[in-house]
Amino acid sequence: MSITTCTVILDNGASTIKAGILGIHDEQPRVIPNAIVRAKGDNATYIGHEVAKCQDYTSLRFRLPFEKVGARTLTIHPLGPTRYSCQGFLVDWDAQKAIWDGLFSKEVLAVNTAESSLLITEPYFNLPNIQDIYDQFVFEEYEFRSYFRCSPASLVPYGPLLAKPNMSPSECLLVIDSGFSFTHVVPILEGAVVWEAVKRIDVGGKLLTNHLKETVSYRQWNMMEETYIMNEIKEACCFVSEDFAKDLETCRARPTRNPIVQDYIFPDYSAHRPGRIRAPGESLGESYQTLTMNNERFTIPEILFRPTDIGLEQAGLSATVAASIALLPEDLQGMFWANIGLVGGNTAMPGFRNRLMAELRSLAPIDCEVAVYASDEPILEAYRSAVAFAARPEFPQFAVTREEYQEMGSNACRRKFRDWKPVEKDSARGREPAKGKGARGRADEDDESPPPATKKSARGRGRGRGASKRQS
């Protein structure tokens, strides 16, 4: 290999970190919990990658770098009082550093960070003051040679999800990223996120697991301490209903025998027996205990489509997609309806795509094609897209170097990393893609690339997306 500097890729999620070295872990990243875990069984503390060594997942307590630091009702004019939670932002840097230290060490990636480049993902609408701390850790603590920071969805255009054979990817793409903390709808036009049209629903995998935990604790077993186990049960049993009313009736009519009801056999760690779904008709010995999953299988994921089911006053996913598309340039809306991609763990639930398709079909204009592309491995999609982006020859142009940081501090990053923030005055000339309602979205006459500080060739433009179009 001719690569002298290795590039480290971190899809740094609130639940798991997908991490690897470009050229080595391109297909399969290391996936480690972004958590510090205290186990009840041995009273030991496991940091990030060490969680895999834990033998007994009973009553785990979690400390998460992406922690909610408080939720309260804030009055933000002109919207009036609204409830905001600050979860999903990186706030516990002590925990994050402990996990990253382990990740970069010989125990996992074995990289010399001072001789490497870094591509790291951050939450959508990450706060500027928190972004500064990212920069500080990257350059002051780990001393990376260069780095690039962006949201996960902004990488998806480079990845496998919407790649069609022998065709250049669509200029318009709408990414639905349903993760641990939130669900985001993120339109991308010519490689750039249209931040004015990005929408967020405050429902993520964490809330769904907690709701399931609470529901079964009320109805059957007290599982309130068993977040880890309930998350596994959620992943094993839950699905998105394609006909909610019908499925409710099915479960009601014969609660113990119907096509939906399942028994989940609890894990028994002392017997090294993982949890699993009981096979139909399978008889079990006395040492087995089971949890019956009836309408719980689909009423929990249903919250993504109907947040009001738990009293959350937010539109469901399909209506939010329609609301986002309505904010985009009118002549391009059809292209967004036809290029919807799903990433994030919740989209792995069976039925998710079909339900969304059906609802979107009824919301879209009749003459409009609606197409939803599901990822085979939605948890890894952003990572694999990051690999594809980092492998491009122009990638180094987008990164900020250690020297630039030493010279200008976080200003170097603010200037170069394009995100939701308004472009700073001195570099603002003529590049404001899709400002306002997106009406001026296609500034064809203008170069709207993420500022490649070094040169402005057609190659460096628009993260490659618009390059061929401009030349033709």
Binding site: R72, Y124, N129, I133, K199, T215, R219, W420
Partner: protein
């Protein structure tokens, strides 16, 4: 395992008249906050005093409660300093890094510092990106069994589906919270 069969239920005090709608909506909000906690293990909404404070439990921090910081106070213990890998001795961190590790800031401070509330109206921010209110009215699901909840408890407004679930509701959950 194995876990205990359904916990002893909190006995509801079914004594006075219907609850104030404000109290009901506060409880719903509090419940939503609970559902976002990392170590959510004990519903807090029981009894009439619930839903007042709006602050999450101290224990929400999870592991190492000793390391928790409140306003302006440095952490007493850090976990990142404790563990070294590869036998390397710890690097001397910069002031910026020490500050980030030692002082964990709360939401109000972070939002305040970020300046996003003051950004001009056209600028999209975390606060403005939230999904709009739903167009359709909420549908009622039985708070006991999950089936359609045709009826609403006269005291606490939680939906239930039939006389059986109404009985369970009255015994266990009435007044605890809404929806």
């Amino acid at each position: 395992m194995p876990p205990a069969r359904r916990q002893p239920v909190r006995q509801a005090q079914n004594t006075s008249g219907p609850l104030d709608p404000d109290v009901i909506s506060k409880r719903t909000k509090r419940h939503l906050d609970e559902l976002e906690r990392s170590n959510y293990s004990e519903p807090t909404g029981s009894g009439a005093h619930a839903g007042v404070s709006g602050e999450p439990d101290e224990e929400d921090e999870g592991v190492a409660p000793g390391g928790r910081t409140t306003k302006g106070r440095a952490r007493q213990a850090t976990i990142s300093d404790k563990r070294q890998w590869d036998g390397k001795k710890p690097k001397k961190s910069t002031m910026n890094i020490r500050t980030a590790i030692l002082y964990k800031k709360n939401l109000a401070v972070l939002l305040d510092e970020s300046g996003i509330e003051q950004m001009p109206p056209g600028v999209p921010t975390y606060l403005r990106a939230v999904a709009s209110a739903p167009l359709e009215p909420p549908r009622l699901l039985c708070s006991v069994c999950g089936y359609w909840g045709k009826y609403k408890c006269k005291r606490c407004a939680m939906p239930y589906c039939d006389i059986n679930c109404e009985g369970i509701h009255n015994e266990t959950r009435c007044e605890r919270r809404v929806i």
